[in-house]
């Protein structure tokens, strides 16, 4: 089966194979209708000006049958070992056996296959599935119509988890895969959820992660894109924040051939707070885009966004950050920052802050954006103390990223990400030549010396 040849019958068959209840089959069919009515985006579509949608090969067959078996070598979950409240692996088109600690299970935490949860926890799944990420774009509609594998993560009211829930999305076989994850952190609950994306194959990944936070809930969502060099990943990672709830959301994009993410946030209820962070490193021919909408849709909501990236080789990165403040959303605070370090000449970054302020009663709204190189004065200071230039560059790059990762105080995150960033940077070709030397050589040459 190919998504370009998808029929309503395919969608119904998929639902029946998975033993889904009627309401979920109906929802898939509705989504399929929306999917048929939408056009595939092209380079002329505003949201796709910087990443060519042709990079996502839609003619690859949708993965079916048994999942492949490959060891996991990267990601935060692996680095944590077993020190988690619960874990599950989604490999290719299947959901593995979930693990939960006795305490987490006793507290009512659920982590497992979405088709099963649609029966056992119908009310909560039915309320949220497709409500956070609906059918407004072709990829979103496709995900709701044809997702598999599907995962449901639930933290019940007032449950407070002191260790993270760990999800690993792994791709081992060539083809196209449509994972969908629904996370619900109910009122007054607190939890951290890690979602690692790992593996490598000639594969297209069309993914949805939808997260709903109940009133006064606190959640941290850490998503790492730690793919190998052949994966093309398009994903909607959207969080909806309940009344006086708080979310911290970190995207770490280090691998993949193409990664196009929409880390959106809906502040739909009064008093909600969102911190959206991102780190990305582009190498080789990688193309990375983070396109985020922070939607202030209620009064006294607060958001802070900080994305930082380093680019080397011939990689390209785009950050597009939109803060939208609705006319009825009074007394909001928002601030967004994007900084890019260009480490080698062939790399490129676009940084586009965007504000849609439709309300005059705003406490604060700011944006900061830059594309630059490693600071030569800082480099001179470090090297004048005997630190070799390449090492000094690495120190400055780590310092640059630590400013983001330090804001999420969760086990394993900063250490693992900085180690992986170090690995990425070391594998690239750094501009470690002293410009003074290059210039001097040029001067000598001009003088015929």
């Amino acid at each position: 089966m190919k998504v370009t040849e998808l029929t309503e019958r395919d969608v119904v068959a998929l639902s029946e194979q998975r033993g889904e209840p009627d309401w979920l089959r109906d929802r898939r069919q509705e989504a399929f209708k929306a999917y048929c009515d939408l056009e595939w985006p092209t380079r002329r579509t505003e949201e796709w000006r910087y990443t060519d949608p042709k990079r996502f090969d839609l003619d690859r067959p949708v993965l079916h049958g048994d999942a492949g078996d490959a060891p996991i070598t990267r990601g935060i979950v692996r680095a944590l070992g077993g020190d988690v409240a619960g874990s599950v692996r989604m490999t290719d088109n299947t959901v593995g056996q979930p693990q939960l600690t006795v305490e987490a299970a006793a507290a009512g935490v659920i982590i497992g296959d979405l088709a099963t949860a649609a029966v056992t926890h119908e009310a909560v799944v039915r309320e949220h599935l497709g409500a956070v990420v609906g059918t407004s774009t072709k990829f979103d509609a496709l995900s709701l119509a044809a997702h598999t594998p599907g995962l449901f993560v639930y933290v019940p009211p007032e449950a407070v988890l002191d260790r993270p829930l760990a999800v690993t999305v792994q791709v081992t076989r060539p083809g196209l895969v449509l994972p969908r994850i629904l996370v619900v952190v109910d009122r007054f609950a607190e939890a951290a959820i890690y979602i690692d994306h790992v593996g490598d194959a000639e594969a297209t990944v069309i993914e949805t992660v939808e997260v709903a936070l109940g009133a006064h809930a606190k959640a941290s969502i850490v998503s790492t894109q730690d793919w190998g060099d052949h994966i093309d990943h398009v994903g909607a990672h959207r969080v909806v924040v309940g009344q006086s709830a708080e979310v911290a959301h970190l995207e770490a994009t280090l691998g993949g051939r193409t990664v196009y993410l929409r880390p959106d946030c809906g502040l739909d209820e009064p008093g909600g707070r969102a911190s959206l962070y991102g780190v990305y490193v582009g190498s080789g021919e990688q193309q990375i885009e983070h396109r985020s909408l922070i939607h202030h849709n209620a009064s006294k909501t607060t958001s802070e966004s900080m994305y930082k990236g380093a680019l080397q080789g011939r990689s390209r990165a785009t950050w597009f950050g939109n803060i939208r403040i609705e006319p009825h959303a009074k007394a909001t605070s928002s601030d967004e920052t994007n900084r890019n370090l260009i480490l080698t000449d062939g790399a490129h970054a676009d940084s586009i802050p965007f504000l849609e302020i439709q309300c005059s009663d705003v406490v604060q709204c700011g944006h900061h954006s830059s594309v630059g190189q490693v600071d030569e004065l800082q480099l001179f200071y470090l090297t004048s103390r005997g630190i070799p230039r390449a090492e000094a560059v690495r120190m400055l790059v780590f310092g640059f990223f630590a400013e983001v990762t330090d804001r999420i105080d969760l086990p394993g995150v900063t250490e693992t990400l900085l180690a992986e960033i170090e690995h990425e940077i070391r594998s690239g070709v750094l501009s470690t030549t002293d410009p003074r030397r290059t210039r001097r050589t040029a001067v000598v040459a001009e003088r015929g010396g």
Binding site: L382, S384, R385
Partner: protein, 258 residues
Amino acid sequence: MAVRNNNDRSPDMAELQIEGLTVEVEGQEILHGLELVVARGETHALMGPNGSGKSTLAYAIAGHPAYEVTAGHVRIDGTDITELTPDERAQLGLFLAMQYPTEIPGVSLTNFLRTSLNALRDEDVPVRTFMKELRAQFDVLDMDPAFMQRNVNEGFSGGEKKRFEILQMALLRPRYAILDETDSGLDIDALRVVSEGVNRLRGPDMGVLLITHYTRILRYITPDRVHVMFAGRIVESGGPELAEELEAHGYERLRVHS
């Protein structure tokens, strides 16, 4: 290490030697064939009015990329360092206490110092030994140990930055130290602490080039030699009494020389 030997003098020359140094900044020549020798174990004061090229000399010796040496040489103990990178110069024992130390967000002070010490000593200094040395130096320079939790120079006041420069000098133990207006912007207490820090390190193993605009610091640090710089050249050299003469008559009389 790539050290060029074709211009090397004999290795027993324990001195920082600047020979015919001509330096351009953004295409404009600032130093015009400057000559200066600082023997190890001696402290030389380099004085001169604003714009005479004192800081240009300091940066050029340390290898700042914006300062282009178009003629002449700088040698450390007979080794020509003119073509070397800043870290290679530091490896040979050069240290520059900067007039405006750079803030480096995200790089912790302790990580910076330990990386620097490991690079210069070419060994992995154990963390305990390192922290012990560091605490001792904080104590000597009357610096708040809370600064150890900070990033390099981040949020430091002007005086704290200068103390931290001297602290680095004490920890890294260079053979030649250039202090570029370390006294500027210091109140009298800070000036005394910094001067004591320098005096404690003076000895047969270190040569010091003390760059200053004012004679004030020379009341605390008595130089062996005093040089006066004007318009990119050394125009006068003498003993400590030259500083007193400058104190009395100012730099105005120099204009006669030029």
